[in-house]
Symmetry: C2
Subunit: 434 residues, 2 copies
Amino acid sequence: MNEKLEKPHVVIVGAGFGGLSAIRALNESPVRLTVVDQHNYHLFQPLLYQVATAGVSADEIAYPVRAFLRRQKNASFHLAQVKMVDLKAKQLETDSGAIAYDYLILGIGGVTNFFGLKSVKENAFTMKDLDEAKEIRNHLLKVFERASYERDPQRRRSLLTFVVVGGGPTGVESAGALSELIRLPLAKDYPALDLAEVRILLLEASDRLLAAMPPDLSAFTLNALTRKKVEVRFGAAVESYDGRQAKLKGGETIPADTLIWAAGVQASPLAGVLGQPLGRQGRVRALPTLQLPEHPEVFVIGDAVYLEDSSGASLPMVAPVAMQQGERAAKNILRLMQGSAPEIFEYRDPGTLATIGRNQAVAAIGGFKFRGFPAWVVWLGAHILRIIGFRNRLIVLINWAWDYLFYDRAVRLIEPDCRKEVKSGIILPQEGKP
Amino acid sequence: MNEKLEKPHVVIVGAGFGGLSAIRALNESPVRLTVVDQHNYHLFQPLLYQVATAGVSADEIAYPVRAFLRRQKNASFHLAQVKMVDLKAKQLETDSGAIAYDYLILGIGGVTNFFGLKSVKENAFTMKDLDEAKEIRNHLLKVFERASYERDPQRRRSLLTFVVVGGGPTGVESAGALSELIRLPLAKDYPALDLAEVRILLLEASDRLLAAMPPDLSAFTLNALTRKKVEVRFGAAVESYDGRQAKLKGGETIPADTLIWAAGVQASPLAGVLGQPLGRQGRVRALPTLQLPEHPEVFVIGDAVYLEDSSGASLPMVAPVAMQQGERAAKNILRLMQGSAPEIFEYRDPGTLATIGRNQAVAAIGGFKFRGFPAWVVWLGAHILRIIGFRNRLIVLINWAWDYLFYDRAVRLIEPDCRKEVKSGIILPQEGKP
């Protein structure tokens, strides 16, 4: 026990991709490791859009942190929400007490960026955590139930109009998955509804989709979505949304009971209260070694840190960056413990991937470009391998195979909404017993 | 369309075991069928206790009603909560308008019976629907998180005391599953906790468990639970529970942060407002043909109807009774349509089953008694076959196999609670972003 206490205490905040990668890198190292997260699970965020579109169950893309730590003898887990970091006293203030650290890795992640649009924040659906994704699923199914007996054609049209804002991977994947959900399983579930009344819009403020991809893959994506009857609009920026009607810059209004906001992310608010200089998207400007300039024992990784690559472009807020930074931060802590100088972080881009739907994806990997079925196979493999837990992998695979073979979606259940402010105006049926 | 409108309109309220069986029996019959339920899914209630103890996912024991109806051309679904039945006007009043019927089947199910104990109703956990089961799962995991850093031994002891009330199948299955959840996977997740501090009590007011079973199977069950370190107490009746302490008749108090109430069921409150005479447990006294005495076009089935068998004993509130009654009600409607007299309902008891845990169950089937491993195999087969949907069956099987082979539980996730009044006093971590 005494020897254990003498080992340096490394605290990792956040069990996301970056945090998990840091934990793995410190396995069997002579440290005491404490992992702090507000959830008791690691969330595989890249598949949240599939929870929202009823393809996989929420449970299948989440994995208990304690299960992950079972194999790692030097680590323990503390379920808590970090309220503040006292950099001078070297301790975290959480909702269940203070936690002192010798070294700290902050992998606190990102939140949705509404760019100051209050009405959008209040009324749009977002997709950053499990509840939000389930809320979208519930809402989509409720909207169809409601539309199935709505007689006012204008009202029904608004119920059946789905606006997705943001032409990045999340927006593209959501719009594609939404189109397939509606045109395949829901068409069978609601034989009395006229699918010609359904409208899916994808709004993008710039002039192309998937800006991180080569232009020809953007064009391929646009074409694939159009064939799925998604109306893609460029130069379209939302100004406000009241839950019933979206108002665009320029004055156009679109009546729609559903608006999914996938237009931006920013660092978690905790990044803003550390008293450190911030870069774009509220991200902490750290040293290239990921350390805070005046607190070399504190490392920031993932969506919360602002770093630029050699060309001066900011590193994207994606899982591979976070994972490589988690490993770098862990290795730098071990170097500091041995009295060596920490090394700077260098990003090795593994390429970018986005799926558009059945048999359809785009991928840009190390100078090579893939599109259509080959890219889709790459996408499938890359995602299945990155899901944590063999059982989760197996069950996601079964759901995908089911979906693929039977043009169906597994999880078409309306469950009670869990958030305090439920955004769906569609509340149906009333709570309680019959 | 005209011909369709001329067909009699049969409305089935409730997509439980009874409702589904009635729907199936009316497949290809010359009727228009409308199924009304407050949820968009059929729930496989016998496995709710496995959702509560993190064994299977909520999604796996629920099946969309619309998916069930896809194959049945004469049926449609209406998601609505029935507020009242106007027997004279032959119409339902729901939260989304009125629905007129020619024939009505009420399979409105049961709710928890608290026997007038207000404090128990407010503070105990129950297990009648998906939210309630998930609430138990969340609470159990939160209690362990909380206990993992609680230093007051008395407080920790209360956190780790689990009281299950009711020695019927639900109570027995819950206590057994809870013991295995704690002694196997949670012991691995919380290596720092002393399992000797964990206490599981099963309180039964009478003098034996599983009263519907032969006495030697009751004795076998008692023995099996005792070996799982469940303390079974007979003649123990709860008088009150404030969320921290259970008070028994006789004055004994048990400090416990968890009390699961599995002591009784009664008919849904809607049964009580039909203006019909009621039998025990608030169940409607119908004719032996399942019809209401003065409304031969209205049938009541399942937990909501009170009937006696030839020996004068009331039929139990279990799935096989509901399923057979659903079929009988459907056939009687067809007989009425043809001008024939309806037939009386006769229950063919398929036997009773209860599982106690790994390799352990009891079964009494047609004069034969099984216990231990053979009964467990019968239990497994009977339940897997009755789950609706091949995909659900497959995934439940995988989860069970996983659990069985690796002594693990699949779904150890704490998700936000969905009910307005959250019973768990353990709220942790605070809601919101880090």
